[in-house]
């Protein structure tokens, strides 16, 4: 797996970020084994690779839920009621920021500006962005994730 992904980026100079991004797609986070293998393949120290994996907020070295919900907490969303959205999610999912639901379906996180302030308040679920949220849209979205 790691060898294959590293091979894919062989022609790219300093491809570490792209490789980690691709590898994370597999399990939703980067395991210690994967990081060590990447280090070996690229001839870097494991510390350097771990350092990069823990620096960027889109990488994770701990397991996450199937859906990572990132609530934008930047000022334009804040002014437009992000805190209500966050409270609704906390109530509904019964988790706090940084935690994952017991069924492993959702992880709740905060994020800085998603650049869709025109439709604040906004959240990002995995790679999709959703804006102009209210209680109704939010519960609709959660049910869709739950497959209901």
């Amino acid at each position: 797996m790691v060898t294959k992904v590293v091979e894919k980026f062989r022609t790219m100079k300093t491809p570490l970020l792209s490789i980690l991004k691709e590898l994370q797609k597999d399990q939703g986070y980067l395991t210690e084994e994967v990081l060590k293998e990447v280090a070996k393949e690229l001839g870097l120290s494991p510390a350097r690779v771990y350092g990069v994996a823990t620096f960027y907020s889109l990488f994770s070295v701990t397991p996450k839920g199937k859906y990572i919900i990132r609530v934008c907490e930047s000022a334009p969303c804040y002014i437009n009621g992000t805190m209500n959205i966050l409270e609704m999610l906390q109530d509904e999912l019964k988790v706090d920021v940084g935690e994952t639901t017991l069924d492993g379906l959702f992880t709740l996180e905060l994020t800085s500006c998603l650049g869709v302030c025109g439709v604040a308040p906004a959240i990002m679920v995995n790679e999709e962005v959703y804006g102009n949220l209210d209680r109704e849209k939010l519960s609709h979205l959660l049910s869709r994730c739950r497959g209901m």
Partner: protein, 542 residues
């Protein structure tokens, strides 16, 4: 060439997509087919039209009628009434979804009074079709530069245009180019790591007119002698990445990127690098570290990137909007460019209007326009009968201005005089329902999270400022804490390593200066005048 009696533009900027533009488009196509109009009326996807708060937006040409807030259920009526019978659906025309204005042929208020240079194609052309860009004169400036101008003449033109960096630092672009050291291998980087809260202009430029940025990059590459270009896009901007990649592929196919462009002997190609979630990577040296596969921590300066940049080679880093200005300067000349804006800040600026303002969205106006004009004319004022309390210019790292400063001209130097900055062009408007201290906590929490930890003033300064703000909100602060905050902020400003720690004190210092009474109300009267700080509300009632 096929001819159509009507063209319908469907805005597919991210805000419109999020509000269902693609669903509206698909129903529109079906309805047109049902009526047998598919060969008479053409539906075209465009980039951002601007009025994001009334998304999704359709424009019907040749009439030029804007339909806003179009729901899937409205499409059938638009087709049956307007496109079949020629009677525009008045209830959908206008600026305000709630009180749909009964005036036909009216463009949304936010679109009046603008001067579009960078955004001239946004909302007009299909960003996924290079021929539409070329049809609007695209890549002519690149041809002119490569065939008729020497690299140093290109630099001279940009220098004399007075163009300054649109990412926030406002450094003169031509000067930056002229500082690039000589060398065999050089790099040109387009900084599309747009992370300043409240800013989404670069996203909408990339999504609405990606070729303008590529053309600007190729011209810049020619000017400084770089054959390799990188565009570093935020990992969160999925749609931008997709559209830019498509644009690169199309430009390569037509020989507008790649080897020996226009048979001039100049070669230039562009590669996308995707960020992984770090605000600090918008800082040019942190961005370079990130492309090099490292933690995005800024380097010490000097050496500047122009001497020692990416992989140790001379490198120029320019913002998306800066580069999108370049083709226009080359094509129409520095004199024309200087005729727009103010002497110290020529040209236009793209702003993003957010917060408590009627018309949220994207605008492009000449530099020097006042805050009042932006808020009350283009922005339509403060909604729901509330009054204006504060405007933060330049994003979360910008200063906060009170109502007395509404007439300050929006240009680099004038804003610097009042302790603020034009920054990225983000404008956050806040009404009287919000508490200054509570909002400052929101700003500082952001910097506390995003500070990379490399230098002490920023790493230690941001959490201490956050603690002091929380003390004020808890009612445990004393008056001397305000002096401590100011002192700490001033120290960070002068001693932090990069722009993050140097500019994050701006909101602290401006709020302390212009809203001292509100801080004092929290500290001395234990009251939150806006009634937001929960711990004080109870005590405040007594």
């Amino acid at each position: 060439m096929e001819f159509y009696r009507n063209h319908i533009l469907v805005c597919t900027g991210e805000p419109c997509v999020l509000k269902g533009a693609l669903e509206v488009e698909s129903i529109l196509l079906t309805e047109l087919q049902k009526q047998g109009l598919e060969n008479e009326i053409r539906v075209i996807r465009t980039g951002c039209l601007g009025p994001c708060n009334v998304a999704p937006v359709l424009v019907v040409y040749p009439e030029g009628i804007y339909y806003s807030g179009v729901k899937p259920g409205d499409v059938q009526e638009i087709v049956a009434e307007h496109l079949v019978k020629g009677r525009p659906v008045t209830r959908l025309v206008g600026t305000d979804v709630e009180k749909r204005v009964d005036v036909v042929y009216q463009v949304p208020q936010i679109l009046t009074g603008q001067e579009r240079v960078v955004l001239r194609n946004c909302g007009i052309i299909n960003p996924d079709e290079i021929v539409e860009y070329i049809g609007r004169g695209g890549y002519e400036a690149l041809g002119k530069a490569l065939i008729h101008l020497k690299p140093e003449e290109v630099i001279e033109e940009v220098k004399s245009s007075g163009l300054r960096g649109r990412g926030g630092a406002a450094f003169p672009t031509g000067l930056k180019w002229s500082f690039t050291a000589s060398g065999e291998e050089k790099y040109l980087i387009c900084n599309a790591d747009e992370g300043e809260p409240g800013t989404f202009k670069d996203r909408l430029i990339l999504e609405g007119d990606p070729h303008a940025v590529l053309e600007g990059m190729a011209i810049a590459g020619y000017a400084v002698g770089a054959e390799h270009g990188f565009i570093y896009i935020r990992g969160e901007y999925t749609l931008s990445i997709e559209r830019v990649q498509r644009a690169i592929d199309q430009a390569r196919k037509l020989g507008l990127l790649g080897k020996n462009i226009f048979d001039s002997g100049f070669s230039f190609d562009v590669e996308i690098r995707v960020g992984a979630g770090a605000y600090i990577c918008g800082e040019e040296l942190a961005l370079i570290e990130s492309i090099e596969g490292k933690r995005g921590e800024p380097r010490y300066k000097p050496p500047y990137p122009g001497q020692t940049g990416l992989w140790g080679k001379p490198t120029v880093v320019n913002n998306v909007e800066t580069l999108a200005n370049v083709p226009h300067i080359i094509e129409q000349g520095a004199e024309w460019y200087k005729s727009i804006g103010t002497p110290g800040s020529p040209g236009t600026k793209v702003f993003t209007l957010t917060g408590n303002i009627k018309n949220e969205g994207l605008i492009e106006v000449p530099m020097g326009i006042t805050l009042r004009e932006i808020i009350y004319q283009l922005g339509g004022g403060i909604p729901d009968g509330h009054s204006f309390k504060m405007a933060q210019t330049g994003g979360t790292a910008g200063g906060c201005l009170p109502p007395e400063m509404l007439d300050v001209p929006m240009d680099y130097d004038e804003l610097a005089k009042v302790g603020s900055a034009l920054g990225s062009g983000a404008l956050l408007i806040m009404d009287d329902r919000h508490c200054i201290v509570d909002l400052l906590k929101c700003f500082m929490r952001f910097f506390n999270h995003e500070s990379c930890g490399k230098c002490t003033p920023c790493r230690e300064g941001t959490p201490r400022l956050l603690e002091l703000i929380e003390k004020i909100m808890d009612g445990t602060a004393v008056k001397a804490d305000l002096d401590l905050m100011a002192k700490l902020a001033e120290n960070m400003e002068i001693s932090s390593l990069c722009g993050l720690g140097q500019s994050s004190p701006k909101p602290v210092l401006t709020l302390l200066e212009y809203y001292q009474h509100e801080f004092l109300a929290h500290i001395e009267d234990k009251k939150c005048p806006a009634g937001v700080c929960k711990k004080l509300q109870v005590k405040g009632v007594v």
